[in-house]
Symmetry: C2
Subunit: 414 residues, 2 copies
Amino acid sequence: MVNVLEIGERAKAAEPFLRIMSTNQKNLALEQIAAKLVQNENSILLENKKDMEIANRNHMNPGLLDRLLLNHERIEGMAEGLRQLAQLEDPIGEVISMKRRPNELLIGQKRVPLGVVGIIYESRPNVTADAFGLCFKTGNAVILKGGSDALYSNKAIVDCIRTALMEIGVCGDAIQLIEDTSRDTTTAFMKLNDYVDVLIPRGGAGLINAVVNNSTIPVIETGTGNCHIYVDESADFEMAIRIIFNAKTGRIGVCNACESLVIHKNIIRDFLPLLGEKLSEKNVELRGDELAVLSLPSVIPAVESDYSTEYLDYILSVKTVSSIDEAIAHINKYSTQHSESIISKDYENTQKFLNEIDSAAVYVNASTRFTDGFEFGFGAEIGISTQKLHARGPMGLHALTTTKYIIYGNGQIR
Amino acid sequence: MVNVLEIGERAKAAEPFLRIMSTNQKNLALEQIAAKLVQNENSILLENKKDMEIANRNHMNPGLLDRLLLNHERIEGMAEGLRQLAQLEDPIGEVISMKRRPNELLIGQKRVPLGVVGIIYESRPNVTADAFGLCFKTGNAVILKGGSDALYSNKAIVDCIRTALMEIGVCGDAIQLIEDTSRDTTTAFMKLNDYVDVLIPRGGAGLINAVVNNSTIPVIETGTGNCHIYVDESADFEMAIRIIFNAKTGRIGVCNACESLVIHKNIIRDFLPLLGEKLSEKNVELRGDELAVLSLPSVIPAVESDYSTEYLDYILSVKTVSSIDEAIAHINKYSTQHSESIISKDYENTQKFLNEIDSAAVYVNASTRFTDGFEFGFGAEIGISTQKLHARGPMGLHALTTTKYIIYGNGQIR
């Protein structure tokens, strides 16, 4: 077992240097690291080849193999991600508010780095550069714990970044990789409360639950999305079909894809056959309740668990409701509080939906697929939070910061 | 063991009703509950007497006995706290930002309740009404788990609040008390992730650590304060002495009291005797390093642990440094990141201190005692956060809220 305590101490020791780096220094470093990654392409690809060979030998499935693979375009993509971060506004140092109290104390709230960020992720080597870039731009030290299948690739990328940092006189411990992927080491990492300010798991539900259940460090849960679209009685059918087709079939493996449809009973007989026809273009399987089956015979009878399943596949559940209230209650019960949309022309129902749906992103007449840091205009994304503390919804650079109060006095006592 | 799952379910079931209560309804309810508490004074005092009798029989120490005691003034105080909450601005529903994206999606961020808040606290019955009021004003259901020594008092207060709520047609499960104070029940409570959105421990370091280490629910750590004052070479001696006297002796048992002094070596010989004289008025014991002892013979030699101790007593540690950098490094190492102050006339040093001290509240030329929700102008306080996620420093009503994105579209797909 690696001494994770020592890794924690080194990250903590890097904190004061990162905290006071100017935006210019940070941007220059990001540019230089991008150049270094491109320059070291061959050696990184050689290491990635080792991971791929082992993965092939272990019969890793094609989807995971594809995530693990690096090539010229993907290394260029990592470098471009870092260059784009250099172009983004630096949130650090902004004074959000500054007010004078009756006793003349001037109390301000200033945006500062969190300190040390821990990231636990699966075997996607591009996350290594991405996560580092986001943390570095916000003045945080990062400790990475990637999947064991990507160890050679991750080591190569981290070495390259550390070398670039040290060449320009920045503390290399701004990024550290936990190379020991044993369970004991991972557990010890999740208890490093004295050194790590926040832990962000990036990956599937299993990984996220393991972190939530075992970490004593505050966690930002980036989540699964059982996203709903509710087709109100007053919906424009053409719009509803266009949006559902996009949200279900645009990209099936993502957390903002639509997994469940809720339809008002008064329109289901007219609407569902039209929708079914469009979705059949992509062979989408529908699983619904009795009225759904009656409305469209190709619908397969749903079981209770269908309503709580994030399929990540060409499958869509269908639930009939007799009112907007029933729709809201159903969604709040089964959703993972990620993204939900109502398709409606009715003012009162849209307002009610916006007010009463308890999810990170609530839409009117738009696809759930927009829940994404880039689409929201953040320029970058560390994940999508489905918890309510600290950050909710797509998380950009701001989610990697905290604030502190700065108070200017002239001798005040209480 | 009580079925905490059922308590969680009831709180969750109350959530939708609380979420849509208007500000007027909430304020009216707070006023009515205040009236009910005053009206039920006698029965609450009778129950409190039972707690006091048991506590006396168990030889509870005088400080704790005083916290446990209720009387006319304290019940009036609880009622007045609720009335003041009714006067405060309701943060719920505020749309913090609303921007139009290039594709015409209008994306806004709206302040909403957290949902269900859990509070674990010690035997201070007034916290029962306080914590309820703050949660209710922000549209949250609250589950309270108070100290076993205050059980009769807490039950009487909660019954009174529930009765008042139900009389005006509000769901009584807006407040629930876990009456079983066994360890098993407490542990089960801290794992209710499906029902409780945040857990806030209020009490001493032992309670807080137990919650941080055992809860799988996100926790807001309200913390201990090992607060420092740094007397810079350029400090105005008179101001420094006035501020230190206030911060150390104004109220010794509070988290924003000063526990440690850091002094520049060039002034310690002149400064410390003057400070010692003033502090002797309150018999403050000084524990310092070699130079401190040389400067003032009554100073007791400090040991390493003195610098990390929150005394909550008439004791102050003294550390000599030879530069502002050394002062900052010392403070960042030993402080609990609560509140620190620099006394200085030097522009560069004050800016450096404000920038580089990593604490929730960083002061120039003022007493650390101001770190408090009321002093900061929040009108109420649920605690002072010493963690970096979600809320840092004094937490008012905003800390009990989250946001959600509301998105107005007109048919957009991605």
